[in-house]
Chain length 337, copies 2
DNA sequence: TCAAAAGTGTTATCCTTACACCCATGT
DNA sequence: ACATGGGTGTAAGGATAACACTTTTGA
């Protein structure tokens, strides 16, 4: 095949998620631009036996953390990705990783390519968990994605701006198309809010220019921008991609447990799912669903000090990973608590 | 960030699928090694505004075909990918494309990155559909994936080989693990055959050495290999990835219609889904599902000469693409006809 | 004693799956 | 007439979503 291939720089980017005290967190690396957070990332190097291995080693060296579950997300490579520099094309292969925020991750799980746990870089044995500020609140970066305590942000800030954008369409047909799109992605006009559409929402905001990293003519003046901290380059887009994937995946695969400690109460499990979905769930139905599918088993002991009646402790039935390669874990999107 | 990045070659690979006379077909490019088919592929070039645009132009120039629906599949980049040469690392970004085999594809649909329809290369206006042999029968490449006419191949060829492999495990624990894996991925031992597991099945066969492209010590003698034509490099693995993705996606998104002509009967639609799934479906339920979800609308006319009673013609209700960004198209995997 | 969270029970509704049967055409 | 595929109706079972209610702790 063609031998005149363009030589390119390839970068690995990680969206590593944990849930701490009811909020999803993303692991961030020491930011190159002070004050602007960045995802852990680094160039693909020749010595790395696989993409996953490379990613693991970058995360380890930049954050002192061993990853557990990892899966490939998406490969970005277009020009015009909202990058600050104009250094030509850079290819970013992004991954989604899940851990518990507390302990160091242990064995490698799943993946896609076979990554055995690569040389642990310089930071393996010493538990050099950098300052706790490494775990960035995901909803500080994408605030509109948290719908648990009201929809004020969407109602009062985003919707009016979108309406303005709809009105500014060229033709009437264009206008209806725009309105339709806004209604769907932000769950307005009779449509339900769908947590999975996180990426579409970000892309719409970007297109409308409501987000500071949008470039060129579209970008609105600072006062009109939607709240939410920006990140380096297009890392916020990558984060939205990861969040969307995670929200979708949680509904048909038992991946939540990668975010839980070995023992947990059903309440804690529910609140973890709620944190990810950004939505409250219906308690009884959630419990039934989990039990009915035999995802967990009781440990026998109970957890005290939950504020009320002590709750039974459960552990994940690891065997379902074998039993149910595909059949699925339905943790559905209910609305009321 | 690190400036000492390794320079690498990046390749775009396309799995383009159509369904012709009840069988899924893959578009192949002029093979570099005679007799061994290859997917359309080519290096990423500087002039290409996006990955998708690059892919489209490679497919157009190698096969004279404009793509419609395109989505990113997976990025492969490990050493030891079963490549024939040892020329170091090559990164392959793979895409899944859908078309009707007959006419030239028209407008660009969906994607992920925004690709406007790129310069049509040299082969746009002239309908240079290369010889019909470009469309390779997908089940000639992955024969075990077609379960519609019996399970002889799995029962009589694959299962015995797998049993042998299970027996050759080191420890008893290893043996049960192996058996378990085989039972699940090939739907044996009481488990159902799951069409979505196409990739896992290929990977298992590769690992066991039942496939000619497997390298090194594992590869079994030619007589023990499983039937099925090989492809260049790891293109067969990429094909399996595409088939798995398509089978999964068809169940929750209305992508089948990308494979259908503008007008079709419900019977034709069903047979298309059956071809992809490699499984027969239950007629009445299929019809109800399609109608109930209002995926199609009648055109008013009927198709004659279907062998029996003339069937009503339908067309896809394009508007569902807006209405149902996520909510989904359940075309489920029923068993009986 | 009261708030807070855990946990149980029941009901209506919809979707899935399956079965049996009738209709219209070409040969 | 009969084979072939198109098309309709209906019934059983299970999963979902929503109700209301009881239990056990800490403050």
């Amino acid at each position: 095949m063609g031998e005149e291939q363009e030589q390119l720089a390839v970068e690995l980017v990680a969206v590593v998620v944990a849930v701490v005290s009811g909020r999803p967190r993303v692991l961030t690396a020491p930011p190159p631009a002070p004050g602007i957070p960045a995802l852990p990332a680094g160039p693909l190097e020749a010595g790395q036996p696989s993409l996953q291995a490379g990613l693991r080693s970058w995360v380890a060296s930049q954050t002192g953390r061993q990853l557990g579950y990892v899966e490939q997300l998406y490969t970005f490579a277009d020009h015009d990705r909202g990058l600050d520099d104009t250094s030509g094309r850079r290819i970013s292969i992004s991954y989604l990783g899940l851990t518990t925020a507390g302990a160091e991750g242990a064995a490698a799980t799943e993946g896609g390519d076979a990554a055995t746990g690569s040389a642990p870089s310089m930071t393996s044995t010493t538990s050099m968990t950098s300052e706790e500020t490494d775990w960035y609140d995901a909803y500080a970066l994408l605030p509109w994605e948290d719908q648990r305590d009201g929809t004020r942000l969407v109602d009062e800030v985003i919707a009016p701006q979108l309406t303005h954008w709809v009105g500014a369409a060229g033709s009437p047909a264009d206008r209806t198309a725009r309105r339709h799109r806004c209604d769907l992605t932000f769950g307005r006009g009779g449509h339900a809010w769908l947590p999975d559409l996180a990426l579409q929402r970000y892309e719409l905001l970007y297109e409308v220019g409501l987000v500071p990293e949008a470039r060129g003519a579209w970008r609105l003046p600072d006062d009109d921008l939607v709240p939410g901290e920006r990140m380096i380059g297009d890392h916020r887009r990558i984060l939205a991609t990861g969040l969307a994937r995670l929200r979708a995946k949680i509904q048909y695969r038992p991946v939540v447990f990668e975010l839980m400690p070995p023992e947990f109460t059903l309440g804690e499990l529910q609140s973890c799912v709620e944190a990810l979905a950004g939505q409250a769930l219906h308690k009884q139905n959630f419990r039934r669903l989990v039990e009915q599918q035999a995802l967990v088993e009781e440990t026998g002991s109970v957890s005290s000090g939950t504020g009320g009646r002590p709750a039974r402790l459960y552990r994940f039935r690891r065997s379902v990973l074998d039993e149910r390669q595909v059949a699925g874990t339905k943790l559905p999107a209910l609305r009321t608590r």
